[in-house]
C-alpha cells in the first residue's frame, strides 16, 4: 500500500507558489528570493506535490511559539 507522507504529523503543508504570488511576496524584501532556504528536488514531499527546480514552496508550519508560521523554500537540483 502506498501512503501519503503529507499526512504525517512531522510534515507541514507545502504549496507551490505561482509567479504572481512570488512577485507579490518578495517585491519589498531586501534579499533575492533565490537566496531562500533550499529544498532538494529529490525531497519526498517535493516529489509528492510535483514541484520542479526553480519553484518556490510556501510552507505553513505549526509553530510552538507563533501558532502558525509561514516560510518559504526554493527547489534546487
Amino acid at each position: 500500500m502506498k501512503i501519503d507522507i503529507q499526512d504525517h504529523m512531522l510534515v507541514p503543508k507545502h504549496e507551490i507558489m505561482t509567479e504572481e504570488e512570488i512577485s507579490d511576496e518578495f517585491s519589498d524584501v531586501d534579499y533575492d528570493f533565490k537566496d531562500l532556504p533550499k529544498i532538494k528536488s529529490n525531497d519526498p514531499v517535493v516529489k509528492a506535490i510535483g514541484a520542479e527546480p526553480g519553484n518556490v514552496l510556501r510552507i505553513t508550519r505549526e509553530s510552538q511559539t507563533a501558532g502558525v508560521f509561514v516560510t518559504y523554500r526554493i527547489v534546487e537540483d
Binding site: M1, I5, L10, K40, V45, R61
Partner: protein
C-alpha cells in the same frame, strides 16, 4: 471561540486604522488574547488597553536587527549542557529498551550522525486496530526479529552422523504467531540439504566425505550456530520489539526502518516515528527532519530537567536544514563550509585551511565577525552593522 477571535482581530484592525499602530500579532497571540478576554470577562475598553500593552511588550521582546542570535543560542544550549549527565544509557520509560540520552544524545543530534547509537521507533496503530491486542501481537512478531533459537524445544549435535537436529516447539510458534510454512521455507532456503519431518529438522553437515574428522567437528559446530541464528521473521534493521499498553497499544522497537513500517497495513501513518533524523529526512522530507531535530533536542533536554527556550533550538534546526539536507554543526558541516578562510582557520584545523587557501588563491571579503576580529576591525554586529556613506549626488 471563533467569533471571539474574530472580534479580537476586528479590534486590532480598528486600532491599526485609527491610530496607525501597525500591530501584526502571530496567531498564538490572538488565541491568548481571546482566552484572556473570556476568562477575565473584559470590557471592550479593557480589551483595547490590553492589546496596546501587549503591543508594547511584543515590540520590546523583538530581536533587534544586528543582534547576535547565533551566539545567544550557543550559550543558551551550552550552559545547560554542562549540567547534563555523562551517563550514556538509561531506560527511557520503557523497560528493557536502551535509548541514548543526555549529553551523548544531544551531541549525536547536532552532529547529524548517520548511524546513531540506539535507533528506536514508536509504532502506533490506526483507529480500528488501536485496541485489537491479537492484531498488535501478530504485527509485533512480524516486525521483530525471531531466530530458530526462539522457537526450538530441543537442539542436538549428532557427532556420529554429523548432523544438527532441532526440534521445533509448536507452543512457542503459536505464541509468536508465526506461520509454519514460512518457517519451513526459510529453513529450506538457507539449508538446501535440510530434512524437515514435522517438528524435527535435521541439517547434515556440508562435507560428505568423512576423511578429515577433526576439521569436520569444527564445521558441524559452526553449522549449529548458523542454524540457531537463522532469522525466520522480521523487518530489516529491526531487532527486539516491546509491546506496551498505555491508553492504546504501542510497539517500541530496537532499530528502525521507517519506510517499510509506514507501508504496512494497520499502522497509524500520522504518529508513527523514529528517532533517526536522517531517516526522517529521507522518508518524510527536510521539513519533517527540521521538526524532528527540534523535538529530539527538546525531549533530550527536558528529560534531564533542563528547559531551553525552543527558539534557540529552532534556530539550530533551521541552520542545519537550510541547504536542503541535514548538515551537522561543526567541522564537517556548517562551520567547515563558511566562505571566509580566516573564519574556518579560527575554528579547527588552522594549518590545513590556510595552506589550501594559499594554494587555491582564495580571497577573503572580510564580511563576517571572526575575520574582522582577527584583523582588528569593528565587527558587523549590533551598532557595527551599519555604516556611513556619503551621498555624492547631493552637494
Amino acid at each position: 471561540m471563533d467569533d471571539i477571535e474574530a472580534k479580537v482581530i476586528e479590534t486590532i484592525t480598528q486600532l491599526n486604522d485609527e491610530e496607525n499602530l501597525d500591530i501584526d500579532f502571530p496567531e498564538s497571540y490572538i488565541e491568548d488574547l481571546s482566552k484572556a478576554y473570556v476568562k477575565n470577562d473584559l470590557t471592550d475598553d479593557e480589551l483595547t488597553q490590553l492589546i496596546r500593552k501587549l503591543k508594547m511588550a511584543y515590540d520590546r521582546a523583538h530581536v533587534e536587527a544586528g543582534e547576535a542570535v547565533g551566539t545567544v543560542a550557543a550559550q543558551s544550549v551550552g550552559e545547560p549542557g554542562t549540567q547534563m549527565t555523562m551517563r550514556t544509557f538509561h531506560y527511557a520509560g520503557v523497560t528493557e529498551l536502551n535509548v541514548t540520552l543526555g549529553l551523548p544524545r544531544l551531541i549525536e543530534i547536532v552532529d547529524a550522525r548517520k548511524e546513531i547509537a540506539t535507533p528506536t521507533m514508536d509504532i502506533y496503530f490506526d483507529e480500528e486496530r488501536r485496541d485489537d491486542e491479537e492484531f498488535v501481537r501478530t504485527l509485533a512478531n512480524q516486525i521483530g526479529k525471531s531466530t530458530v533459537n526462539d522457537i526450538i524445544s530441543d537442539f542436538n549435535l549428532n557427532y556420529g552422523t554429523m548432523e544438527v537436529e532441532a526440534v521445533l516447539d509448536s507452543k512457542k510458534i503459536e505464541e509468536k504467531r508465526l506461520d509454519r510454512e514460512e518457517i519451513n521455507a526459510a529453513i529450506e532456503k538457507a539449508f538446501k540439504k535440510a530434512d524437515i519431518k514435522g517438528d524435527r529438522i535435521i541439517v547434515p553437515s556440508s562435507k560428505s566425505d568423512k576423511s578429515d574428522s577433526k576439521f569436520e567437528i569444527r564445521e558441524l559446530r559452526l553449522l549449529a550456530d548458523k542454524v540457531r541464528d537463522l532469522q525466520i521473521s522480521g523487518i530489516k534493521g529491526i531487532g527486539k520489539v516491546i509491546i506496551r499498553r498505555d491508553e492504546e497499544w504501542i510497539i517500541h522497537t530496537e532499530g528502525s526502518n521507517l519506510k517499510e513500517i509506514l507501508d504496512m497495513d494497520g499502522i497509524d501513518h500520522v504518529r508513527t516515528t523514529t528517532n533517526n533524523i536522517h531517516e526522517i529526512g529521507e522518508v518524510l522530507g527536510i521539513e519533517a527532519a527540521r521538526q524532528s531535530i527540534i523535538n529530539e533536542a527538546q525531549n533530550t533536554l527536558s528529560e534531564q530537567g533542563l528547559s531551553v527556550d525552543v527558539r534557540h533550538i529552532m534556530l539550530v534546526a533551521d541552520i542545519m536544514t537550510s541547504e536542503g539536507t541535514v548538515k551537522s554543526i561543526g567541522r564537517h558541516g556548517i562551520s567547515g563550509e563558511k566562505s571566509s578562510v580566516l573564519a574556518r582557520a579560527a575554528f579547527e584545523e588552522t594549518g590545513k585551511h590556510l595552506l589550501h587557501a594559499s594554494i587555491r588563491g582564495e580571497v577573503d571579503d572580510l564580511t563576517g565577525i571572526i575575520e574582522n576580529i582577527i584583523i582588528g576591525q569593528p565587527i558587523p554586529l549590533g551598532t557595527g552593522s551599519v555604516g556611513v556613506k556619503m551621498d555624492y549626488k547631493n552637494e
